[in-house]
């Protein structure tokens, strides 16, 4: 008993320590900075704790948050990020669900197909996004082919549009949708579909009433795995996205590195995190329910 207790403490303790050291403490640091004001110094913000007449005093500034909420630039960036993430999540779901379904029913080909889904990870993410620039730019491959086929006379402007941004994000995040969906769909009992068919359900009705509801946990997991990182995505919008409307990850980086306004950048980060708490809690609830059902 004692041995298993100690083992359990280790199993739970190590990840907890990891999370505290590498997530909670850095977050608290960011949170602390967000309540400060920018200043030309090293570090470039005012300390929160100051000594006045020998007494420590807490000096909390809410100015960064006030600035965020009153300046429409930030609000627009937040909304744009949520919109891009939401659209990309839906696109990933629409493309990923049939793929995951096909892989789960592919029999002997299953492992080969799964391998193909994971294969792109062997190349650098940055390289793959750059490759899309080569494909999508005005004198890129796609325009070349379309013009030489005589389908268009002038190159289509695809790069630095919402289109190229969606392509980049959907392309990069598709595996994160497919893998959890696959692992869900693969567990479905084929006898259930036979039972549905036996009870008079046509294939599509059986899909809607049996397969789809049972794959909801997979849909939720996949959607959140795409949505959450997509909201804060920095590299893809920088390389492929619009220049007139930037996503919140870019805003954050600008505040940190270009404006050197650490408190404002920290406030941006804290608000992003708060926005994502809702979907994360949702994910946990779905996972818990799935555990209970088993």
């Amino acid at each position: 008993m004692g041995g298993s207790n100690r083992a359990r403490r280790w199993v739970v303790g190590v990840p907890t320590l990891w999370l505290v050291l590498l997530f909670l403490i850095p977050f608290l640091v960011v949170l602390k900075i967000s309540f400060s004001v920018a200043r030309l110094s090293i570090p470039p913000y005012a300390p929160l704790l100051v000594l006045r007449h020998g007494w420590p005093m807490l000096k909390v500034h809410l100015s960064s948050y006030a600035y965020l909420l009153t300046n429409p630039l930030y609000l627009r960036s937040y909304l744009y990020s949520l919109q891009v993430a939401a659209i990309c999540t839906v696109l990933c779901l629409l493309i990923g669900y049939p793929m995951a379904y096909a892989i789960a029913h592919a029999g002997a080909w299953r492992n080969v197909l799964l391998m193909l889904i994971v294969l792109p990870f062997w190349t650098s993410f940055l390289l793959r996004v750059y490759a899309w620039i080569g494909l999508l730019q005005n004198n890129g491959l796609i325009n070349h082919v379309l013009i030489s086929l005589g389908l268009i006379s002038h190159p289509l402007v695809m790069l630095q549009t919402d289109f190229s941004l969606y392509v980049g994000i959907v392309y990069s995040y598709l595996p994160f949708m497919i893998l959890p969906l696959y692992s869900n769909l693969e567990k479905h009992d084929p006898a259930l579909l036979e039972a549905a068919s036996d009870l008079g359900a046509r294939p599509f009705a059986a899909f809607l009433r049996i397969t789809l509801p049972q794959s909801l946990p997979g849909i939720a997991a996949g959607s959140l795995l795409v949505f959450i990182p997509a909201v804060g995505e920095y590299v893809i919008p920088t390389l492929l996205g619009r220049t007139d409307q930037i996503m919140i990850g870019r805003v954050l980086s600008n505040e940190f590195f270009e404006n050197r306004n650490w408190p404002l950048a920290s406030a941006v980060a804290v608000v992003v995190l708060l926005m994502l708490v809702v979907p994360i809690v949702l994910l946990q609830r779905v996972e818990r329910r799935e555990l209970e059902a088993e």
Binding site: A191, L192, E194, D198, G200
Partner: protein, 385 residues
């Protein structure tokens, strides 16, 4: 329910029913039904006729083709050859969701994300019946299987026996012309199984639905079936009432598969009117047996002798004279409660004898005792193959 259906009588003639006039077409008729998976023949030209309201059990070991046959009836497998006629309708090319046939799956295949009520209503919802009617029929069926108190439960909140009832209700609520049951009791423990068998019979009689039950368990088949078909290697080797199959098996496989049996190989030395004399090497003895089969002298035959048809006596005992006798020595006695099973060595052959414990015969017989086995000429069955 739907008796006013045109019966298609332009049935293509098949050898098996060539000239015989069948007064009424059978309710379910299989004609030369086969299923091949590549080289493997799972079901081999099965022809069978089943009457309305029967409980027909398909009994066979694993790989005998019984499940494949059932799946062809449900429509999950396409026959490689042959036809299925149900109530005058050719089902061979009808998709599973359009067949008036329902199945109770071995695993029950209840929908885990739906309540008991929703599970049972599923089939009726597919028929797009009015909500009121669905609710009434579901309630009625849950009442019949005594699950009315659990309408809101999910399958994982039910016991094995309760799941089995829900699965039965879900299949029966559609009022199928034919209910297929795949190992209906296999997942239940012994006590529950016995009770459920009788409940199943009860429900079947009440609703009058024709049942086809697939099972590997002969006890299950014996108690449920009005008739049964024993399957081996994709073929039905014998069809008959349980007693008929037990008492007069058609061949060695059936004799051995149903119940336990002593099989003795021998050669016919005398073939008279109604009885034959058979000389056997192991055990070395002559056996007189009633035989109506056409056999001639020097034919190799098998004698199937049920263990309970053999009388066991002490070696020196002067009992009633029987037509056949054999000496041996008791190797083992297994006490089973109602009976005891004795294994008796007769030369190199091991004979199995069951003795009712109430008979008191075993009071004077112990292991290693010399004993005498005896049986009447009418006890064994002579088999040609």
């Amino acid at each position: 329910m739907d008796g006013v259906q045109d019966r298609d009588l332009t049935v293509p003639m098949v050898e098996s029913r060539s000239q015989e006039a069948i007064p009424e077409p059978a309710y379910l008729r299989l004609e030369g039904l086969s299923k091949r998976f590549g080289e493997f023949v799972a079901v081999d030209a099965v022809s069978l006729e089943i009457a309305r309201g029967e409980i027909f059990c398909l009994l066979g070991g694993s790989g005998s083709g019984k499940t494949t046959l059932l799946r062809m009836l449900a429509g999950f497998e396409r026959p490689s050859a042959g036809r299925i006629w149900l109530d005058g309708q050719d089902l061979s090319a009808v998709a599973p969701h359009d067949r008036p046939v329902n199945m109770m799956f071995q695993s029950y295949a209840l929908f885990p994300h739906m309540s008991v009520e929703k599970n049972v209503a599923f089939g009726l919802e597919q028929e797009r019946l009015p909500r009121q009617e669905i609710r009434a029929r579901v309630a009625e069926m849950l009442e019949i299987v005594q699950m009315s108190r659990y309408t809101g439960r999910r399958p994982h909140q039910l016991s094995g026996g309760q799941r089995q009832r829900v699965a039965l209700a879900r299949a029966l609520v559609k009022r199928p012309k034919l209910l297929l049951l795949d190992e209906p009791l296999a997942a239940l423990d012994r006590k529950l199984r016995e009770r459920t068998q009788f409940e199943l019979l009860n429900i079947q009689q009440r609703l009058g639905v024709t049942f086809i039950v697939v099972t590997h368990d002969q006890d299950e088949a014996m108690t449920l079936a009005t008739r049964m078909g024993v399957m081996d290697h994709g073929r039905i080797v014998q069809v008959g009432a349980p007693a008929q199959i037990y008492e007069s098996p058609a061949n060695r496989f059936v004799a051995d598969f149903i119940g336990s049996v002593n099989l003795i190989e021998g050669r016919v030395t005398e073939a008279g009117s109604g009885t034959v004399l058979i000389r056997s090497e192991a055990p070395a003895c002559a056996i007189r047996a009633v035989c109506t089969l056409p056999c001639t002298i020097d034919d190799t035959v098998w004698v199937a002798l049920r263990p309970e048809r053999i009388q066991l006596q002490q070696a020196q005992h002067e009992g009633a004279a029987v037509e056949n006798g054999l000496s041996g020595r008791v190797r083992d006695i297994a006490y089973m409660g109602d009976v005891s099973i004795c294994l008796v060595e007769a030369g190199a052959t091991l004979m199995r004898v069951t003795v009712p414990n109430s008979s008191g015969v075993l009071a004077h017989i112990a292991r290693h005792d010399e004993v005498r086995l005896g049986w009447n000429a009418s006890a064994p069955v002579v088999l040609l193959k």
